[in-house]
């Protein structure tokens, strides 16, 4: 393909579109199941429950330290399946490309998406591209739907959570949120921080065999506090978190302090929050800490009787309520 930028002709169903699909998408994502000439993919499926999910991706900028919209589109959907206890198998991919996007950038992003899919053990089995007019999209929007398989008998869910259960997090929180914010260069801040965007499948697999595992979720939008809030609301129990135990990187704390953000509300894209029976908490922690992405895993609190809210216990013995996120956080004045 010799074009430099996406034009509306790349979406007209004709030669340009075929070249775009063959030269960019099929070249990176090609696999026996992805027949670009078929209207639907035939998916082999072994025993087990089918798990199905979908997610959309609009991140700005399209590329940021530690990832890009392509890898994110894989991790987001793969992680939703993984925390539900499934092994992700197939993805579909919808790309909404804005006229004027440099083809070299699209190529980088699709290549990154392909790498992420390979790492996570999923194949893109179906796809579609559309081109929208300049000004009608943020360069590139992606949507992925995912199918995974789960062994029957795995009962995960908030309804299984009991008072006394431990709350675990697989690593430092807020990296993705701050990395993307720094990449926007909106605040003139620079840093070495990379997004934590990754498949959490190794993490979820490592604890799936524990009988005391109750529930897992990846704390994306709204962060750790939002997941804790959802658990608290659904169970009617209080989520008591120990501030000193929650892993937060120094760079994340520093930016949060400067701009008035709260790291507990910032998005992660490669972490897992798990609720585990206290008896299995140590085993879960050990399993996570043995993995490269789980070295900083920590037991950060417990579910307990009391008013259904999220209470953060400070190192000096104070408490603070982590409320449900209302507005988008805004930088503060001083």
């Amino acid at each position: 393909m010799t074009d430099t930028y996406i034009t509306l002709a790349h979406g007209n169903g004709g030669r340009y579109m075929r070249e775009l699909i063959e030269g960019t998408f099929a070249r990176h994502l090609g696999n026996p199941l992805l027949d670009i000439n078929a209207d639907a993919a035939r998916l082999p499926w072994d025993a087990g429950e089918l798990m199905f999910t979908t997610d959309g991706f609009t991140v700005q900028p399209l590329e940021f330290p530690g990832g890009d919209i392509g890898s994110l589109a894989v991790h987001g959907t793969v992680n939703d399946l993984a925390v539900a206890g499934a092994t992700p198998r197939y993805l579909s991919l919808n790309a909404f490309i804005e006229e004027g996007l440099p083809l070299t950038q699209l190529d980088r992003i699709v290549a990154s998406l392909a790498r992420a899919a390979k790492m996570a053990g999923v194949v893109v089995a179906a796809g579609d591209t559309k081109v929208v007019r300049r000004g009608e999209g943020g360069g590139l929007y992606l949507a992925t739907a995912g199918i995974g398989v789960r062994t029957p008998g795995i009962e995960l869910g908030m309804q299984t959570i009991q008072a006394g259960d431990a709350i675990l997090v697989s690593g430092p929180v807020g990296d993705h949120g701050i990395a993307v914010m720094l990449a926007r260069e909106q605040f003139g801040l620079k840093g070495e921080l990379a997004s934590d965007s990754a498949s959490v499948l190794p993490l979820t697999r490592a604890v799936l065999g524990l009988p005391g595992l109750r529930f897992m979720r990846d704390p994306t939008r709204g962060g750790l506090a939002t997941v804790a809030h959802e658990i608290s609301r659904a169970t009617g129990l209080q989520a008591g978190l120990q501030q000193a135990a929650i892993p937060v990187r120094d760079q994340v704390s520093a930016v949060c302090e400067m701009l008035g953000y709260d790291p507990y509300y910032l998005a992660c894209e490669g972490r897992v929050v798990a609720v585990v029976a206290q008896a299995d908490a140590a085993a879960a922690l050990a399993a996570w800490r043995a993995l490269p992405d789980g070295q900083d895993a920590a037991l950060i609190g417990h579910m307990q009787p009391g008013r259904a809210q999220v209470v953060l216990h400070t190192p000096l013995g104070g408490t603070r309520i982590l409320d449900e996120l209302e507005d988008d956080p805004l930088p503060r004045i001083c």
């Binding site: 909106q186 008035g260 000096l316 013995g317 408490t319 309520i321 001083c334």
Partner: protein, 366 residues
């Protein structure tokens, strides 16, 4: 700071203190650290920490926020402002945009920024559109605005300045007698810019202990210990418990830039009134960059409830440290972060917002 919070707490607990001591802080950042670390609960019960005039968003005159909102709605401009200002409510008839946020939703081009350099970037990127920088803040925020003006800005950039000095508000409280507090924790960031010496009048003229503090629990507890010791020894002086950053004369170049482009003027504080020599005004030589001179005054003094606090709102008394946030009748009832009535429930620096975030959900009044 070589000692940790537990060390200072132990030292404070070992003091033989009178029955009730009230220590005021005058910085939203201090109040935030105190509340979110749970210092009130950790200190002996007879030590009260009361938030004072420390929230620049809260004291920004209603008229100025109204002016900014109307400018953005009526003129073909880009209005940039610090994010905190966007949700501050003003008094308008029902159905009209009552904050910058609402004006933005109604179509005005309003962009939150975090530093003056962003204002300059936006002005450079849009040379044909006037850009108005609504700059409300204390010395800490006004100094970078002064630096920006001193360095020279694009011709299409002007500033709607609502800068305030903190110490005159404390001086006013002390001059009025019965200040309602026994000691002062002076603001660390303000002192970094303007110098610790600005606060020497507190012990020298009024005989009250004072200490400049940083923003960690350790630094705040060290300052608390210092003022308690001063009280017990009856030897008030100005202590500096934030020596890492605070010098007696402050940041010399920041002060020079402030003096170069701004005059100190009498200024209105929301709900409080005019405090002499407590505000910054842009010097006449820079009139071309003064939005108050470049654009029509939309502030209609005949407007219903212009400049007034909302009915029942006690923000002004909270700001002056006369009452605690949960002593306001609206706190947690009509006024919550979701439906803020007064500015103290809007800003992250506002005492009501901070107390709410810490989990205090009910007013203490009947």
């Amino acid at each position: 700071m070589s000692h940790d919070a537990a060390y200072w707490l132990q030292k404070i607990r070992a003091l033989d203190l009178p029955s009730r001591i009230k220590i005021m802080n005058v910085c939203g950042g201090h109040e935030r650290s105190i509340t979110l670390a749970g210092l009130r609960g950790a200190l002996p019960g007879n030590i009260e920490l009361i938030p004072g005039p420390g929230c620049p968003v809260c004291v920004c005159p209603e008229e100025d926020v109204y002016q900014a909102t109307q400018l953005a709605l009526n003129e073909k401009i880009i209005l940039v402002a610090f994010g905190d200002m966007l949700r501050v409510p003003v008094n308008v008839p029902k159905g009209e945009p009552r904050s910058l946020d609402a004006a933005r939703a109604a179509g005005a081009d309003i962009r939150p920024i975090a530093s003056p350099t962003e204002a300059v970037q936006i002005a450079r990127a849009n040379p044909d559109i006037p850009v108005v920088f609504f700059a409300a803040g204390f010395e800490t925020t006004t100094a970078p605005v002064a630096a920006m003006l001193a360095a020279g800005v694009p011709p299409n950039l002007s500033v709607l300045l609502s800068g305030r000095l903190t110490w005159p508000a404390v001086a006013m409280l002390l001059d009025a007698g019965k200040p309602g507090f026994d000691a002062l924790i002076a603001p660390g960031h303000v002192a970094t810019v303007m110098g610790a010496d600005e606060w020497a009048f507190v012990p020298a003229r009024h005989g009250l202990p004072a200490a400049v503090a940083g923003f960690t629990p350790e630094s705040l507890l060290a300052a608390t210990y210092s003022v308690l010791r001063q009280l017990l020894a009856e030897r008030p002086f100005l202590d500096n418990c934030y020596p890492e950053l605070v010098r007696p004369g402050g940041n010399v170049s920041a002060r020079r830039q402030l003096a170069q482009v701004m005059d100190v003027v009498d200024a209105n504080w929301r709900g409080v009134g005019v405090i002499p020599a407590s505000g910054f005004g842009i010097k006449p030589a820079l009139a071309a960059h003064d939005a108050r001179l470049r654009f029509p005054a939309y502030d209609d003094p005949a407007r219903k409830r212009a400049g007034e606090m909302p009915p029942g709102c006690d923000c002004a008394r909270v700001v002056l440290g006369k009452i605690y946030p949960d002593h306001c009748r609206l706190y947690g009832r009509a006024c919550t972060p979701r439906t803020p009535i007064g500015p103290c429930m809007v800003s992250d620096e506002g005492a009501c917002r901070i107390w709410w975030a810490s989990g205090i959900r009910e007013a203490k009044v009947a």
